[in-house]
């Protein structure tokens, strides 16, 4: 049996790309045979892709990193053109992410059967679904950085088209335009960074880049550009504003696909930091400019003066600019303060490169958490509210990664990274369930506005319970899966600085407050006569939501299964067993 699985695993990487890619083309023709045959074809192809993903996952956990070569061997003397090869280097972290991706896509497809049924152009929807799946899986399996960019573009273009799927709605088309604008700018900067690295090392393979990395001036520039561009795609504040616009205007299953695409970009951040640059960051020792904290204090004071001047002259723009300046420079100060001498007397900061980048990521992640929950609190559109909550959850992931990077080379780094990767897994399921429930509410009532909804618990107990499970999990409440990953993050960030842990916990409490408001507004209270006829939610949609709710409960009660078999191998793949 294991020999059969190993043989299947040998061809799993190309099949995981080829199957959805070819299905994207053929689904349009299969659609002519009828809706049921098309749905069966979609599910069959995704389940087949999922089967190969799970087989590959088993193979990597059993036999180690899997390499697949596309292209020539290079030892044929009759070849005239240079050898062009692309390697897929699949380690435990790649299969961890690809398993999450394909599992979510299967649930989305099941949900979409009935949710998208009454729309026109549904075959195009499934084409785009297969394309985005191809892109995401390609990003997670490839070992070539330029190939990563290609799959990033495929994902972005398919996602933009999906966001704008409801072309009759102006907000959807606008959201799709914003998505493609932001994605295009980010992807171009990624390409520029790749060009810098290629110019330095004449290589595009990530493993070769990691071995050759000298962390010179050009390499630092490339790192910053890659980090900023991929962090924008992942939704780090203050480059996140496109995220609620896109999530809020897309159909519910598309919102989950875009969340998964965001996680694929987050995968890119981790790959760049831990695999390509990894140990090179440790080797850099620098008497980082003692001017940095002083500079941030001076700039903050300038910003305060700008605000005061704006108040005197009654100019709103000056006040706003000044406040933004204070916010930015405070973050800068906090980031450098974390690295400062423990006695607090010296302004000289000494750190390695990983600590500086880790500090910046920690500062921005705290901002992400706070902005996400504060904006979620004032939303009246249910989808935008969940989008902002998803943004806050991205903040937790970056907080864990920043902590891991700051403490790189220690067991604390390992613990923080475990919490971060476990949180990726849990967040995908929790946010996925919430978006699906939102879609179900829209399906029932044709409403997204919290002010117009109410008393839905009288109409549907199943959706009420499913939403309660989702809100409980995303708020990080025991005994569900959200708590399990958040407790690891709280404990690891506490070791760096207790304030980080406090902010993270306050963020979770505020998420709970946000969802208590939503639960009350949507489900509690008397039946509203103002709501139009309540449509019954189909069984396939309830099944899709039920699968995610079941996973939330299961992994909440048995978190160590996920940690031992999925997360720890991924962490070891990234940190090299440190």
């Amino acid at each position: 049996m294991s020999e059969l699985l190993t043989a299947l695993a040998m061809y799993a990487p190309p099949l995981m790309i080829a199957l959805p890619l070819l299905s994207a083309f053929f689904v349009h023709f299969v659609n002519m045979a009828g809706t049921k045959i098309r749905n069966a074809f979609v599910m069959l192809m995704l389940l087949l892709t999922g089967f190969f993903a799970y087989v590959l996952h088993w193979d990597v956990l059993t036999n180690g990193t899997h390499r697949y070569q596309f292209g020539g061997a290079g030892n044929n003397p009759q070849m005239i053109l240079p050898v062009v090869r692309i390697f897929f280097e699949i380690d435990a972290f790649s299969v961890f992410m690809s398993t999450i991706t394909i599992s979510l896509v299967i649930v989305v497809a099941l949900y979409s059967w009935k949710f998208m049924e009454k729309n026109t152009g549904v075959s195009k929807y499934y084409t785009l679904l297969f394309l985005i799946t191809t892109g995401m899986l390609g990003m997670q399996l490839t070992g070539d950085i330029f190939n990563f960019f290609v799959f990033l573009e495929i994902t972005s273009i398919a996602a933009a088209a999906l966001v704008a799927f409801w072309v009759g709605k102006a907000e959807a088309v606008e959201a799709g335009f914003k998505y493609i604008m932001v994605s295009a700018v980010g992807a171009l900067f990624v390409l520029f960074a790749i060009a810098l690295l290629y110019g330095q090392y004449n290589a595009l393979n990530m493993a070769v880049l990691a071995q050759s990395m000298q962390f010179g001036f050009i390499d630092k520039i490339a790192l910053i550009i890659l980090l900023a561009a991929l962090a924008m795609k992942a939704g780090l504040v203050p480059m996140h504003m496109w995220l609620p616009d896109s999530y809020g205007s897309a159909p519910a299953p598309v919102s989950i696909l875009v969340v998964t695409a965001t996680l694929a970009s987050f995968y890119g951040v981790i790959r760049v930091l831990f695999t390509i640059y990894g140990d090179a960051l440790l080797s850099v020792k620098t008497t980082t400019v003692f001017l940095l904290p002083l500079l941030s204090v001076i700039l903050s004071m300038v910003a305060v003066l700008v605000v005061l001047y704006g108040v005197i002259k009654k100019k709103q723009s000056l006040i706003t600019s000044g406040l933004i300046g204070i916010l930015l420079f405070s973050v800068l100060f906090i980031a450098t303060f974390i690295l400062s001498d423990p006695t607090g007397m010296s302004m000289i900061v000494q750190s390695t490169g990983n600590a500086l980048i880790g500090g910046i990521l920690i500062g921005l992640s705290l901002l992400t958490i706070l902005v996400g929950v504060m904006m979620a609190l004032i939303q009246t559109n249910l989808k935008r509210l969940i989008a902002f909550t998803a943004l806050a959850e991205v903040g937790y992931m970056f907080l864990a990664i920043g902590t891991s990077l700051t403490a790189y080379g220690t067991t604390l780094s390992h613990t923080a990274l475990t919490g971060g990767l476990f949180h990726i897994f849990n967040d995908a399921i929790d946010v996925g369930l919430l978006f699906l429930v939102t879609g179900a509410i829209y399906f029932m009532t044709k409403e997204h506005s919290l002010d117009k909804l109410g008393g839905l618990a009288h109409h549907t107990k199943a959706i009420t319970i499913l939403f309660f499970i989702g809100l409980y999990a995303i708020s990080g409440m025991p005994p569900l899966n959200g708590f399990a990953s958040k407790i690891i993050i709280y404990e690891s960030t506490y070791q760096i600085n207790p304030i980080l842990s406090i902010v993270a916990i306050v963020g979770s409490i505020m998420i709970l407050a946000v969802f208590v408001k939503v639960f009350y507004a949507v489900f509690m209270g008397p039946k509203l006569s103002s709501l139009p006829k309540i449509t019954k939610v189909p069984k396939s949609m309830i099944l899709a939501m039920g699968i995610l709710a079941g996973l939330i409960i299961c992994f909440g009660l048995f978190p160590q299964i996920v940690i031992d078999h999925l997360v720890t191998p991924a962490v070891l793949a990234l940190t090299g067993g440190i």
């Binding site: 630092k220 919290l450 209270g525 009660l557």
Partner: protein, 111 residues
């Protein structure tokens, strides 16, 4: 399989669930000492609004935009800034990206 061992201790959801069940049972037993002869009837359990008539259900439901009003009012100065950031203009979104990348590049030069 059941416990996450952390540096500060451990988290075991099964123990949590069992504790919750035990506490629930204790609460239920305490509740059972109450008056079991009470029946909901007459005016006792109806809503009392100082003698005023009960509103229609649509008018009684508190809308979500009214919740947490105090919190959002006190932090109005923060929300003014945040709302201006989320103005929907994609040019401003790209501008933020450029600002952050510029700031990070300046910091990166110091690495």
């Amino acid at each position: 399989m059941f416990s996450i061992i952390t540096e500060s201790g451990f988290w075991n959801p099964i123990i949590w669930v069992l504790s919750f069940i035990v506490i629930f049972l204790i609460m239920y037993i305490l509740r059972s000492f109450g008056n079991n002869k009470f029946k909901k009837q007459g005016e006792k359990t109806k809503v009392f609004l100082s003698g005023n008539p009960e509103y229609a259900s649509d008018d009684m439901h508190i809308k979500s935009s009214n919740l947490y009003w105090g919190f959002t009012k006190v932090l109005d100065w923060v929300y003014t800034v945040l709302k201006r950031m989320h103005n929907g203009d994609v040019r401003d979104y790209i501008l933020w990206f450029v600002i952050i990348m510029g700031t990070l590049l300046l910091l990166g030069v110091m690495l």
